[in-house]
């Protein structure tokens, strides 16, 4: 039981097909995976092996064709869209390769966005937390800059702060450093792992970068839709 409580994320025998008819491809062929709180996991592998597909399934952004997913002990496969959306808001933080900031909003507003939806904090508390998160990623002076006024590295740091906004138990990052130079890659990775470890969050990241993968607690290589 204690072991189960330690796992923020579990999946068992996940299958996923993409495409239709003749173009239908069996992308995930029965993948099982577990992620403990406070640990950083890297999923590595060649392009098209199913890393990102697995990450989207674990993040409940997509639905598996078979298998089970558990978030903090609650089975999420076969739940409706509303339950999956609620679980995303409460338990999961995403960092995407292309930053995915909402560019019409300031850094502060971007970080506050998930908090506003969850509605746990009052508006001043949200603003305080967003300020503190942005300061911890080194952007305390740029909280009121629009997304368009930030560099790529800064945008990705805002995305990290946003992923941490609701204190989720799981952080999923899809090539979080894929679009950054070496210096910024290291900075973003360090931030992500440091903050996640401080808060006891499970971090699962997909990466092509061997240096980043080596620095993770556990590396899971993938090939042809299976862990090897």
């Amino acid at each position: 039981m204690a072991d189960t409580a330690n796992f923020a994320l579990r999946c068992d025998n996940l299958h996923r097909y993409l495409g239709q008819d003749d173009a239908r491809v069996h992308v995930l062929k029965g993948v099982s995976f577990e992620a403990r709180r406070g640990q950083v996991y890297a999923i590595v592998g060649p392009s098209g092996c199913g890393k990102s597909t697995l990450l989207y399934l674990l993040g409940l952004l997509d639905q598996p064709d078979g298998g089970e997913i558990e978030i903090n002990g609650r089975k999420m496969s076969n739940t409706d869209d509303l339950a999956r959306t609620a679980a995303r808001g409460e338990h999961i933080g995403f960092v995407f390769q292309f930053h995915f900031l909402m560019l019409e909003f300031t850094a502060l507003e971007n970080v506050m966005m998930p908090m506003r939806k969850l509605g746990r904090l009052s508006l001043p508390e949200m603003a305080d937390r967003a300020h503190s998160l942005l300061s911890s990623v080194g952007l305390g002076e740029k909280t009121h800059r629009l997304g368009t006024q930030l560099s790529g590295g800064e945008q990705q740091r805002v995305a990290v702060a946003r992923a941490l906004a609701n204190q989720p138990s799981i952080i999923l990052a899809d090539e979080p450093t894929g679009n950054l130079d070496v210096k910024n890659s290291a900075l973003v990775f360090d931030l992500l792992t440091r903050l996640a470890k401080e808060n006891g969050q499970a971090v699962v990241l997909v990466t092509h970068n061997p240096e980043i993968a080596q620095r993770c607690d556990l590396t899971r290589p993938m090939r042809d839709g299976l862990f090897v």
């Binding site: 989207y56 952004l61 869209d81 808001g89 292309f98 995915f100 019409e104 939806k117 609701n166 899809d174």
Partner: protein, 413 residues
């Protein structure tokens, strides 16, 4: 401000040009709707006002004869068959005083005046014209018509004081080259009586202004040799729109035919209604364009914001939130567009009301007639709201249906 409204506002302001296009279409649609309704209703209302001010809201004429045929069985039996044969009318009102007294019991009746009508020949110095003489009791008649306000030459007081005075329609007076103070002869039933033009009136209705000569009731009785009874009783109502219901009740109670103004002026009212529907259809095209512009803008925003939709969905925003964000955008454009459209509509209505447009025939006016009615604005906003909301529902639902996984995967590729 709700998170969804905040996001909607930012999305909109990010697409200024597209939003301005939708906004201007909505403003144009609402503004034109208000303007056309104001002008078409304006003429219709003015016509109704003219006709009510001239012929009243209702006319009580011809007595209804009871035509119930009964057959009674003989031999002391009570058996009886009754059969209605259809209505028969006896021309005119034999007892106008009784009718007018009885009308006082109807709460919606504001006044009733007897009128004796007959065909006459008007003889002036240079020309003769066929006309109709209307014998009236002036004080009663002023309660059921706008005759006092329709005087364009002379004074109504002169008519009141002159027993042989007459009120003549402007067209008829012009044709006979008569002015106030001129004398003329009315000829009917072999009788010729001389009168003086006390005042000249103008209703703007050509058929009235070229035909009617108003004289005092006693004079009309002498001229038409009708010592008792009248042709009809002209009735005015507090609530003019209730005339059809009132006429049914009055006819039932007083056993005289009662014709409401809606039935009397049916052909003109149908023409105005057709005109109004036609202009409403034209204007609906503008609001349809507003709807299409809105659809276009939102569809464009949905296409450009798929990434943002995926971000929102990944952060826990529900499909319902995404729909709301896009409906809010439509709502914002609609609210601003409706407000500005109403202002534009009101200002253009005001401008048009000063436009010179001499019309006479069915009514008399020198400028464009407009109607100021709050319902035109309500209808315009409701039509625009319907169009815009229908147009925005499709892109909003499409946005909500987008699967975040598909979007992220697509972007990642």
């Amino acid at each position: 401000m709700s998170p969804n409204l905040r996001i909607a506002l930012r999305f909109l302001t990010a697409k200024k040009r597209a939003m301005l296009m939708s906004l201007s279409c909505t403003v144009l649609g609402v503004g034109l709707f208000v303007l056309t309704q104001a002008t078409t209703s304006g003429f219709e209302e003015f016509f109704i006002k003219t006709i009510l001010g001239t012929d009243g809201a209702m006319r009580i004429e011809d007595k209804i004869q009871d035509t119930l045929r009964q057959m009674t069985a003989g031999g002391g039996s009570d058996f009886q068959i009754s059969q209605r044969q259809g209505l028969k009318y006896i021309e005119g009102v034999e007892e106008p005083k009784l009718i007018i007294n009885a009308l006082k019991d109807f709460s919606n009746v504001s006044g009733a005046a007897p009128v004796l009508r007959g065909s006459v020949l008007v003889r002036a110095d240079f020309k003769n014209e066929s006309a109709q003489v209307f014998g009236i009791s002036l004080e009663d008649h002023l309660k059921v018509s706008d005759l006092g306000r329709q005087i364009v030459q002379g004074e109504i007081a002169t008519f009141r004081e002159q027993p042989t005075g007459a009120l003549m329609g402007r067209v008829l007076a012009d044709r006979l080259q008569l002015s106030t103070g001129s004398s003329f002869i009315l000829e009917a039933q072999g009788q010729r009586l001389r009168y003086t033009v006390s005042a000249i009136y103008e209703t703007g209705v050509a058929d009235i202004d070229k035909l009617r000569v108003y004289v005092h009731m006693s004079e009309a009785r002498s001229l038409l040799q009708k010592p008792s009874g009248v042709s009809f009783v002209q009735v005015n109502l507090f609530e003019k729109d209730r005339a059809p219901q009132n006429s049914i009740q009055i006819q039932e109670v007083l056993k005289h035919s009662a014709k409401p103004w809606q039935e009397r002026e049916k052909s003109w009212l149908s023409t105005f209604r057709a005109l109004r529907i036609s202009s409403a259809i034209t204007v609906s095209v503008f609001t349809l364009i507003a709807g299409l512009a809105m659809f276009n803008t939102l569809a464009m925003i949905v296409l450009e914001k798929t990434k943002d939709i995926a971000i929102l969905r990944s952060m826990g925003y529900e499909r319902r939130d995404i729909t709301q964000i896009f409906l809010w955008q439509a709502g914002i454009v609609l609210a601003i567009g409706a407000f500005l459209g109403c202002v534009v509509g009101a200002l253009s209505t005001l401008g048009v009301s000063y436009m010179p447009l001499p019309i006479s025939g069915i009514f008399k006016t020198e400028t464009f007639v407009v109607s100021w009615n709050i319902w035109h604005y309500v209808e315009a906003i409701a039509t625009a709201a319907l169009m815009v909301m229908i147009a925005s529902l499709i892109p909003a639902r499409r946005a909500a249906r987008l699967e975040p996984g598909d979007i992220v995967r697509g972007t990642a590729q």
